[in-house]
Symmetry: C2
Subunit: 340 residues, 2 copies
DNA sequence: TTGAAAGCGCTAACAA
DNA sequence: TTGTTAGCGCTTTCAA
């Protein structure tokens, strides 16, 4: 049952013996202390190499009360996180940034309350040094609880209600939507509609606001607004509504690529050519954007960089628990393809 | 610098004091030993609850030499893993299965040799109890090395060359391709082409073989084969080649949705209607499949279940290092949409 | 600059 | 059935 099987790894003790010094000295070398004589340093390094010594994390953790582990909690159920390269790119960015630290990345799906409890337990018990939370739902109490427990926490995506002191990383949804809409206007489009995302989610709200600001004070204004839920079907329905409301609509900014793809279908069904009759822009620059016909012009988010920033903030929080960290809002970019 | 800050968690010792028993007894209760008197059991349980005790994993690990952690290694660079819901669903399946065990899931990207070394080190050093490897490249030595080091390893996806004894989980690519092709045949299609994936990857090979078997002995046979690389552009090119080779082609099975999407574009450009003139089937049932126009009929893989099986095999390997585990090949399903 | 020694919190072997 | 005890491998004072 013990089933250890594997040969025992060399310990500090053995390295010390090999190098002819004490455990303390080896420990100092391993942890990069400066108060070690060049001679001892060299002897220890050689012994380490010779023995193939690697520190035992559990032992270290036991005494330092650090775990050198950060937890990525995906509070999903919102399928979006998992579709699209979003999740993967984010993880990649986080890993990238963490690879320069001793921190390991742990992953946990936690949508139910029970799973959230488990996260809190892990944190409280010192099994993780910090938490990255992504894909939060409306007023999820998890980040607040974690922060209250004194745990370093950072959020992927702006929380809908302000969580004083908990930093977040987000794409500049507002500016992205604004620039997409302005682009349409510059192309000479004058009846620019939008298909919004859910208005109880930050990206939904911000992207609508960006559209509004772009058209503020412009002739025609921002009146052609149809509600969607980020999903393709809702985009199709919304586009039909828009066409009914104003048959002369000549452009539409959709708050997601899926909705834009839906709009494309509705437009084709209505006999409108894209982009000739109606220009379409999506948001996310997802895989879908590249594979619709015509390919979607879309607002791209620097997802991988968002991951890196998340990790950077978290590391800062762990290292300097006191300091106030500002949210990071990263610029988006309009990727022009065929649809607008 | 110590920055512990957090209040110390209660220890076994304190629970023992509170319950009026010894540490040993508390340990037995915590670890579910049966040799504990009902009275002691109750007292300990109460003390645990009262104090909010949670075992310190580091301390436990130190003595048991188990880490209760499994590592998911994404040997990426092949972007596919990250696009599509693939990665997310897989992780979800793995998490799901592990949630019934004390095992935590760790994640690591490792494409470079240096990163592979780190994986081996983690394993050798007992920091992880087992490894799930996905997205392996051709003849990556990592699984062999890990297995040789005595570490439990399971593979996501059939390795291209047999790794004696290392179990894997895969979708039944061959059967999926075969049934898609047969479906086309049943629909009365008689000039059925295929666009293959790279022939140095198991899915590429298997899906071509499935196509071949479906048409073996049938009139026309399996002669309309064009090479692709799973990417959309290659699918578009391949479709043009096929049209040139046989303008009367009336169906095409593409080994990926992206290639199928490319084929769709080429067909539209050539003035062919889908599915009227040419039926198209893709593979993966990815997001793209749902958003092309017409929507793609596609072969779906039970990705989440693959994740669960992966975890199941790994747990079995960890618990019973000796036993031989067979590969698990899961059935695919043809999802019929508009394109065929 | 170094060594010695005291734990970190836990499991498991042994004795009672 | 229970208590006692010896470590697990490491970091970190404290003295030297």
């Amino acid at each position: 049952m013990t089933s250890t099987g594997r040969a025992r790894r060399p310990t500090l003790e053995q390295v010390a013996a090999e190098a002819g010094v004490s455990r303390g000295t080896v420990s100092r070398v391993v942890n990069g202390s400066l108060e070690v004589s060049p001679r001892a340093l060299k002897a220890v390094q050689e012994a380490i190499r010779k023995l193939g010594y690697v520190p035992n994390q559990a032992a270290r953790s036991l005494v330092t009360r650090r775990s050198d582990t950060v937890l990525l909690v995906v509070s999903e159920s919102e399928a979006r996180v998992f579709s699209e390269p979003f999740f993967g790119s984010l993880v990649r960015g986080i890993s990238q940034e963490l690879s320069a630290t001793p921190l390991q990345l742990n992953l946990m799906m936690a949508s139910t309350a029970r799973q959230h409890d488990r996260v809190e337990q892990l944190v409280r018990n010192g099994h993780v040094d910090g938490v990255v939370l992504i894909s939060l739902h409306g007023d999820d109490p998890l980040p607040r609880n974690l922060a209250a427990a004194g745990s370093p926490v950072v959020l992927g995506g702006r929380p809908i209600s302000d969580l004083g002191g908990v930093p977040y990383v987000d794409a500049d949804n507002l500016a992205g939507a604004k620039s997409a809409t302005e682009y349409l206007h510059r192309q000479g489009r004058r009846r620019i509609a939008t298909i919004t995302g859910p208005q109880d989610m930050a990206p939904g709200i911000d992207r609508l606001e960006g559209y509004r600001r772009a058209l503020r004070g412009r002739r025609g204004g921002a009146r052609l607004v149809a509600q969607g839920d980020f999903g393709q079907a809702s985009g199709e329905v919304a586009m039909r509504e828009l066409l009914a409301a104003d048959p002369a609509v000549d452009a539409v900014f959709a708050a997601s690529d899926l909705m834009a793809a839906g709009a494309l279908r509705a437009l084709r069904a209505a006999g409108r050519r894209v982009p000739d009759d109606v220009a379409v822009i999506g948001f996310d620059d997802s895989a879908v954007a590249q594979h619709t016909d015509p390919a979607l012009t879309s607002v791209s988010q620097p997802v991988q960089r968002m991951g890196r920033e998340l990790a950077r903030l978290l590391v800062a929080r762990i290292r300097e628990p006191g300091t106030v960290l500002d949210p990071v809002v990263l610029p988006t970019e309009l990727v022009v393809r065929e649809s607008a």
